[in-house]
């Protein structure tokens, strides 16, 4: 069987790492690129299967979503949640400044 190796470049990996907030050491990028390319090769192999008549699967379980009735069941537990937060003030969680 012919496997079309999907091309993946180092800058693809760098962009994806940034989107996923993953820090990859510069010297490791080449190796990560290689390994992901191998995984994508497997995906390519799977994609050679003819799935024209198969409906896309959103979930492997043969079940449908149960719905809950619209009722407030959660009390205010702010104190407990904020006790484990690194920084809070006036009831707000504080995070490093986000520049918009």
């Amino acid at each position: 069987m012919v496997v079309n190796r999907m091309t993946v470049h180092q800058d693809d990996i760098e962009k994806l790492a940034e989107l996923a907030r993953l820090r990859i050491a510069p010297e490791a990028v080449a190796e990560v690129t290689d390994r992901i390319a191998t995984i994508l090769g497997l995906v390519d192999q799977l994609q050679s299967v003819d799935t024209a008549a198969v409906e896309p699967m959103a979930n492997p379980l043969d079940a449908v979503q149960r719905l809950r009735s619209d009722a407030v069941t959660e009390d205010n537990r702010r104190e407990a949640f904020q006790a484990i937060a690194p920084a809070v003030e006036n009831g707000l969680y504080l995070v490093p400044k986000v520049i918009d």
Partner: protein
């Protein structure tokens, strides 16, 4: 060059559920920060979303209201991006298989013309929290009360051609969703937020130009202003031979301008994939049918009924049918006073005018429908004139009591006693011999004008309480008599 404006709108509508879309935390507006953010909303490890049935029902109601196909099977996806007010690092939304498919509704423009606007889709998703950037020693404060609030994102086709059409679209949409009762539609509290996609193309061209997206505009007036600004900005670029960059811009209401959002440079790659924590949502056709059967009357149908049953003009019917609370108020006034036209007039002019001047909503009106109807009955049965009615209405507004007690206390009852009126008419005629002579010498047209003078004097003498119809009759009679002396 002559540019054609092409606009599509994305509206994020907050659904009026009690609890969040995937958790049992409350959605009430204005609570203390983070008091309505539970473990699911905070994305604590191991927490799983469970879908709120009411949110699904509201989405179906909207779909039925715009004649759309309802997705009997819909799927939730993860939309991935990092921002501190989105604790999970992804928003649960619907991408490939939304719950509401293609539909449409009609908008009416000021010149009376009607345009049909296509809806591409509407899907369910969760809202994010709020970031507060000021006053935290160079840190950002996060309030997650809003995180997980159910939203219906309603995407229009690029069918709108002007700011006026965009505003008409939003007003019609607002009227529709509040009539359905699926959202409070409170724009000031962010219940209806709008993203504007706008591009220009040479008039007559079929291909779309490059668009810019303006995010998060939250009032009808700002939508109008933001669109005017963006049209000007893009026209300037194109006329200088430049190219519009596809980007996201923010409307700054204070400076009245749009500006580029730089923070999302690497964004717009949301890497959607099916949400593994939720199963596909499958709803039964019979459930959809039962929702359809219980839909309230929609504004377009109500408007037609007001024209047919109450004999209202198209304009009056549009105003009164647009929002359910006002329509219900109006119908209650009609029911209690028995006259649809005087009710339409008073609700639109006096009631809405006073609400506007007092900056109150209909709910807060100090005069309810029954009280207003009781006042209108006194005008209809001739106890007071319309003019005195306005005085009584103002007193009712100020909390002085109901119509009858104010009329009684202030002695405003219309004088319909013909003896008393006759005396007043005679007095005015005696006091103005010059005008009487002029009247008698005048032709038909001038007589009408001059008789207005006498009526004015008589009304003044009666402090506005004379029955105008009787005054007219008595006056005509006495003037005819005065003219008759010479002949007989």
């Amino acid at each position: 060059m002559n540019w054609e404006v092409v606009i599509g709108l994305e509206v994020h509508l907050q659904l009026a559920t009690e609890s969040k879309i995937f958790s049992g935390a409350a959605t009430r507006f204005g609570a203390e920060p983070n008091t309505q953010a539970c473990a699911v909303d905070l994305a604590m490890p191991g927490m799983l979303p469970v879908l709120n049935e009411q949110a699904v029902r509201y989405a179906v109601m909207f779909g039925l209201g715009i004649g759309a196909e309802i997705g009997l099977r819909s799927v939730f996806d993860r939309k991935n991006y990092f921002y501190p007010d989105l604790p999970k690092g992804y928003q649960i939304s619907q991408f490939q298989e939304p719950i509401v498919g293609r539909g449409h509704f009609d908008i009416q423009l000021e010149d009376g013309s009607v345009r049909r606007i296509g809806i591409t889709r509407a899907h369910l998703e969760e809202d994010a929290g709020k970031s507060l950037h000021e006053d935290f020693h160079n840190q950002t404060g996060i309030d997650l009360n809003r995180a997980g609030t159910p939203l219906l994102e309603i995407v229009s086709e690029p069918d709108l051609r002007s700011a006026e059409e965009a505003v008409a679209y939003l007003k019609t949409l607002h009227s529709l969703v509040t009539s359905l009762g699926i959202s409070d539609g409170n724009m000031a509290e962010g219940s209806m937020r709008c993203d504007i996609n706008l591009s220009l193309r040479p008039a007559g061209s079929e291909t779309l130009g490059t668009r810019a997206e303006i995010k998060n505009v939250n009032s009808f007036r700002f939508v109008e202003k933001a669109i005017h600004h963006e049209i000007e900005r893009q026209a300037d670029i194109l006329e200088a031979g430049g190219q519009v960059v596809q980007e996201t811009r923010l409307y700054d209401a204070e400076r009245d301008e749009t500006r580029s959002m730089r923070s999302k440079e690497v964004a717009n790659d949301y890497r959607y994939f099916p949400e593994p924590d939720l199963l596909p949502v499958v709803i039964e056709q019979s459930w959809v049918d039962s929702i359809r059967a219980s839909l309230p009357e929609l504004p377009a149908a109500k408007r037609e009924r007001f024209i047919a049953d109450y004999g209202l003009s198209a304009y009056d019917a549009t105003v009164l049918a647009a929002e359910r609370p006002l329509a219900d108020f109006y119908e209650a006034v009609v029911k209690h006073c028995g006259d649809a036209k005087i009710a339409a007039n008073w609700v639109q002019v006096e009631l809405l005018g006073q609400l506007n001047r007092s900056d109150l909503t209909l709910n807060e009106s100090p005069v309810d429908a029954q009280a207003l109807a009781a006042l209108l009955q006194r005008i209809l049965d001739g106890s007071i004139s319309g003019k005195i009615g306005k005085q009584v209405f103002e007193a009712m507004w100020a909390g002085e009591g109901d119509a009858d007690s104010i009329i009684e206390a202030r002695g405003l009852r219309q004088v319909s006693d013909s003896g008393a009126l006759e005396a007043m008419v005679s007095e005015v005629i005696r006091a103005n011999p010059e005008q009487v002579a002029q009247y008698l010498a005048a032709d038909e047209n001038r007589r009408k004008k001059l008789s207005g003078f006498f009526v004015g004097q008589i009304m003044k003498l009666s402090k506005g309480q004379a029955n105008p119809q009787m005054v007219n009759d008595l006056l005509n009679q006495q003037l005819a008599d005065a003219g008759g002396h010479g002949d007989t």
